[in-house]
């Protein structure tokens, strides 16, 4: 695997849209060619090289390209957008849309990321060592097809609206989350090791949510369905089981209505 490093040298005055920073776009290019790729600051088109030092070389395919992003990229959007293979390491905090629409490969964000990370993710792995913003692994605006595959892990906390319209895949948050989790979900699995606030699983059709900490306000549409012993993310324990959202539409399989499940650790 070949490694290419981009290091911030000239901060943008506004925010920078760098949707070219992905193994797919870099593959088969020299550092000089990569520096010529287009980035956008407002309505002005510039080159990646105007803002970043580019060193190293990319592999021939996305799968054998690794990108390291260095320096302050708090004002850079779309890092790793639509990547399908390869690896990316973001050493500091990044702005919105990290790994949005990614279908494969691995992204490691060592800092925090802002909203819309892993929007409509289809596959691959996104690991965030800091905190994640709102709409993590959610559908894009107006789309009813959210995250459908892959895995997102967050060491810190996450914001609101995570996993909106989720269809599949997995989100694991070590810390706490804000309101609205897996709203409208029709599949997938969300694990919250910390506390949740309210509106957990609203309008959920199918899928599973596991909450280890507290829930401030339960959705009235989730009905108690006993207790179960489970092993979740390596932790064994007793969970209170709820099914819902009773107000929402549900599919039937073999004459049985399929509800979404909410498990809360006791």
């Amino acid at each position: 695997m070949e490694t290419i490093t981009i290091t911030m040298k000239n901060q943008p005055a506004l925010y920078l849209e760098a949707d070219c920073v992905s193994p797919d776009a870099f593959a088969g290019m020299t550092a000089a060619q990569i520096a010529e790729l287009s980035v956008y600051e407002g309505n002005v088109t510039g080159t990646l090289g105007k803002y970043f030092d580019v060193t190293g070389s990319a592999g021939t395919t996305a799968a054998d390209t690794k990108i390291i992003v260095r320096g302050d990229v708090k004002k850079v959007k779309y890092l790793g957008m639509k990547m399908s293979a390869g690896e990316m390491v973001i050493e500091g905090d990044a702005d919105m849309y990290v790994g949005a629409w990614m279908t494969g490969g691995k992204i490691l964000a060592k800092g925090s990321v802002d909203a819309f990370a892993a929007t409509a993710m289809k596959g691959g792995e996104l690991t965030i060592e800091g905190n994640a913003g709102n709409y993590l692994g959610a559908a894009y605006r107006g789309d009813w097809r959210g995250m459908s595959g892959g895995k997102i892990s967050v060491k810190g906390n996450a914001g609101s609206d995570i996993g909106m319209y989720m269809l599949g895949g997995e989100i694991v948050i070590n810390g706490n989350i804000d309101v609205h989790v897996a709203t409208h979900a029709e599949g997938g699995k969300v694990v919250i090791k910390g506390d949740a606030k309210s509106k957990v699983g609203g309008q959920m059709v199918e899928g599973d949510i596991y909450i280890f900490g507290s829930i401030d306000i339960m959705m009235p549409g989730f009905k108690p369905a006993g207790e179960v012993e489970l092993e979740v993310e390596g932790t064994k324990g007793k969970f209170a089981h709820f099914i819902g959202d009773m107000g929402e539409r549900h599919k039937k399989k073999k004459g049985q209505v399929i509800y979404a499940n909410l498990y809360k650790k006791i």
């Binding site: 005055a13 506004l14 925010y15 849209e17 956008y40 600051e41 407002g42 309505n43 002005v44 959007k77 919105m96 909203a115 819309f116 709102n134 709409y135 894009y140 605006r141 107006g142 009813w144 309101v179 609205h180 709203t183 409208h184 309210s198 509106k199 609203g202 309008q203 306000i217 339960m218 959705m219 009235p220 549409g221 009905k223 959202d245 009773m246 107000g247 929402e248």
Partner: protein, 438 residues
């Protein structure tokens, strides 16, 4: 001598009353009296008659004083600002006509700007929900003639849309509603005992920030499923009772306002309210309608959606339209520092935006086009006063139920004053020359 102008449209709130009469002087220059309008509507007309009105553009000087300049100079200043900026924001649009909005969008395309209207801090969340799950709605005429179940959720028309209840929703006797308010049942959901709530058959005093839970409980109750004893501060018996009242009507309507669109849950509240409406259609005919505030905010959404594909928060910086509130919405752009010029028209962000955003506007090159002196005109570098739309200029506007209504010109503007549209044409033509597309 006076003359009476009839069928005048009120350019204040989204009710867009179309039955006003205005007494004006014979030369058509002064308004003497306004009939049929509510207090706020009347004020809007009389305000245009103020003797201390600013009638020429004013440019802020280095010492904070203002210098009067010509419309030509103002148009040049505005065009220069738009041409230089990397990411100008054009915000407002809700208190001007559709013709001016359309002209403004030409400028936005030329300058590759962000365009946003007041929905961003109001019913934008409604628009997100509508895009997510659709909207079973109707016109206010249908409400007047058919509705016998009225829900006001998080809105207070008694004060915000004063003639809404008398013209459309509660009191009028329509084709199938001959007994007026006597055969209408009114349900009000509001954490406060408002003047609207006092008139209700059932007032559900929901705990603030738990509208989403209560709406969810309604859906569960409609299906006859299990509910916890108390939801959002309301005992479950009351929820089942209210659900039964709604089910038993012949035609129902949910009107909702900023109490649900901008409280915790935001777009999800509306999403769930629309779902309640859909569910109710299993039993009877039910509709839902947002109580839009500014008289032509609906029009701005219509024009923007027709021209760019999205109803608000449109980002044209890359030459094609993008939309993602949270990223491309005014508050986020300003508070994140992601704009470098501010153009305001037909709205007052200075009075309604968070302080850090207003501060940002004051630091940026900025133009405010508004007939009044407002907090926004006070923080903008250039203030361009224009004719009062709907009083001194006509043009298309959209009522809250998406019905287009042609506003009327009632009197002449003060000598030499331009309308929004006329000024925007001057800016557009200059910008075209600068960009070499003329």
């Amino acid at each position: 001598m006076t003359k009476i102008v009839t069928d005048v449209i009120c350019p204040f709130c989204g009710t867009l009353c179309d039955d006003l009469e205005v007494a004006a002087t014979d030369d058509g220059k002064k308004i003497i009296e306004v009939y049929n309008a509510c207090v706020i509507g009347t004020e809007k007309f009389l305000h245009s008659q103020a003797s201390d009105r600013v009638t020429r553009p004013r440019l802020m000087q280095a010492d904070g004083s203002y210098k009067e300049i010509s419309y030509d100079e103002a148009a040049e200043y505005t065009a220069q600002m738009m041409a230089k900026a990397k990411k100008p924001l054009m915000y407002g649009w809700s208190s001007t006509n559709c013709e001016a909005q359309s002209m403004g969008h030409e400028i936005a395309e030329l300058a590759k700007a962000c365009v946003d209207n007041t929905a961003a801090v109001c019913h934008g969340t409604t628009l997100i929900a509508v895009q997510d799950i659709g909207l079973p709605t109707c016109t206010l005429g249908e409400v007047k003639n058919r509705a016998d179940r009225i829900v006001f959720w998080g809105c207070n028309p008694a004060h915000a849309h004063p003639r809404h209840m008398s013209r459309y929703s509660i009191f009028p006797r329509g084709f199938f509603t001959g007994k007026g308010h006597k055969n209408r049942k009114l349900v009000v959901v509001d954490p406060r005992p408002t003047d609207t709530a006092k008139m209700a058959d059932i007032h559900l005093q929901v705990t603030q920030g738990q509208d989403y839970e209560l709406l969810n409980a309604f859906r569960v109750a409609l299906k006859g499923e299990w509910l916890p004893d108390v939801v959002a501060g309301i005992p479950k018996e009351k929820i089942y009772e209210a659900a039964d009242i709604l089910k038993s009507g012949r035609f129902g309507i949910i009107f909702f306002g900023m109490g649900v669109t901008q409280s915790l849950g935001k777009n999800h509240n509306i999403d769930e309210a629309i779902a309640v409406t859909k569910d109710l259609n299993d039993y009877t005919k039910f509709s839902i309608m947002p109580m839009r505030g500014h008289y032509n905010v609906t029009g701005s959404g219509e024009v923007m959606a027709w021209q760019f594909g999205y109803p608000y928060s449109v980002d044209l910086t890359r030459g094609f339209a993008r939309y993602n509130p949270g990223d491309t919405s005014s508050i986020d752009l300003l508070s994140r520092g992601d704009v470098d010029a501010m153009f305001t028209i037909g709205s007052d962000p200075g009075a309604h935006f968070p302080f850090n955003c207003v501060k940002k506007i004051s630091e940026l090159p900025s133009v405010c086009i508004d007939p009044h002196l407002t907090p926004t005109s006070g923080v903008s570098k250039l203030h361009v006063p224009v004719a009062f739309n709907g009083v001194e200029a006509g043009g298309s506007c959209y009522r809250m139920d998406n019905v287009p209504i042609d506003c009327r010109k009632v009197v002449e503007p003060p000598e030499g004053m331009l309308t929004d549209e006329q000024f925007l044409i001057m800016v557009r033509d200059r910008l075209k020359k600068m960009k070499g597309v003329a």
